[in-house]
Symmetry: C2
Subunit: 230 residues, 2 copies
DNA sequence: CGTTACGTTGATAGGAATCAATGAGGGTGG
DNA sequence: CCACCCTCATTGATTCCTATCAACGTAACG
């Protein structure tokens, strides 16, 4: 499992008792909607889930894509209401941990409480990084960053870091990175022409990871924004 | 104080014992640096603090501006290291709560634990909103949104919601909103010409709050990004 | 085999970044 | 106390990136 880390086997047992394996859900299925009552958190076992918030006007902003080992649902802890919508991008299996159980165990096991804080902290850093990527990088850099992020996560999961399938559409990538799908498509084509990657529909092969890294670190737009650092 | 909410007076007492009032810090002083060891969290009592992350290349991204009653330092919970830098924008007073003490009291008082989760959840929603603002709105909308956010926060603090001082520079506003300081300046001037606000250096008067709200909700760029909602 | 959603590619336009020059305040030192 | 410096802010001219509009190709699905 994914949640525990530094828990005693005794504590692990307690945790294990409250974890439920859910039925697989299919592409397009909604795990929870923004506004739904918060009932607990989910751990992705297989597949991929996207999380998105939205404005009153109905535009949606994708917050992240979640792969096996990653946790979703923390957005509901604040007010017992989910602020995000979670949708499966592929057939996916999840574990569910009811919040009532979880907080019971948390009071018994302080280490689990800490672990929960860490998870929320991770969400926060993820969003910090996303903000940095969006505000400081051009389209090229954002997409290169995105591809490398996927690559490193797949590697951790034991899959190939250079050859993988994108579970999300161009449109979703664009939404996530603050770009239009046309721009995403164009950048991917450009990277292919430059020999950085090879694209076959949803399948990507990274040919030159160093060059991609270089694109990530390219000159930032709004050089002068740095001045506020001083 | 700011942290408690729904705590018993008994619990409050425990909390009170571990809160330390710190010496006032001055404009430009650094409360903690990214990379510093995490020692505890701060509550702003007076003044204003900015929080920022940065890339390896040194560009900084301002994450938020924190006013009295707001909490900073949660970014350090994940790895016991701060991921943000906190800088005073004005002379400011803060309370400090050491993390060791805090987690001790948390295990005794589950309600406080929940409160901490809620605080982190609030940080998360704040960043979701910021992302939405940056990716879905033009410069005008971002700045109008920013002004209205300040306005409502000042109102809560008991200050005027239509007349206030901006503790941060144009450059910092721009950094926060993903714009250059020139664009910020231009938009503010434009709003003034349109009779929405009046600017006097750092002092702002909101003349037409409804019109500002309208600017916030204006047509979004990248209309087609919505399609991924379907 | 048509329908539909998704993806690619091209042409154009618009908004904000960049470059540049000038002005206003605040602090320091003579 | 005034002159100077330096940072912050304003405003204008130009450029560049990416959104937008549009047409077409391709894959998946019933």
């Amino acid at each position: 499992m994914c949640l525990p880390r530094g828990l005693s086997s005794n504590d692990l047992e307690k945790l294990d008792q409250i974890v439920a394996r859910t039925q697989p859900i299919h592409k397009g299925d909604v795990l929870f909607h923004a506004g739904d009552k918060f009932s607990g958190i989910f751990a992705v076992r297989t597949g991929c889930i996207k999380l998105a918030t939205s404005t009153e006007q109905g535009d949606e902003q994708i917050i992240g894509f979640y792969f096996p080992g990653e946790i979703i649902g923390l957005d509901g802890i604040e007010n017992d209401l989910h602020t995000c919508t979670a949708v499966a991008l592929d057939t996916s299996c999840l574990c569910f941990i009811g919040f009532q159980h979880l907080s019971d165990v948390c009071t018994e096991v302080p280490a689990l409480s800490e672990q929960m804080f860490r998870l929320m902290g991770r969400e926060l850093s993820h969003e910090h990084n996303l903000l940095l990527t969006i505000t400081k990088k051009h389209a090229d850099g954002r997409i290169a960053t995105f591809l490398l992020s996927l690559s490193s996560r797949f590697k951790i999961l034991g899959y190939s870091e250079v050859e993988f399938r994108l579970p999300m559409s161009r449109s979703e990538i664009g939404n996530y990175l603050g770009l239009t799908f046309e721009t995403v498509s164009r950048c991917l084509s450009k990277f292919q022409k430059q020999g950085l990657i090879e694209i076959n529909h949803k399948y990507i092969t990274i040919l030159d990871i160093d060059a991609l890294n270089a694109v990530c670190n390219e000159t930032t737009p709004a050089e002068n924004l740095r001045k506020s650092a001083s």
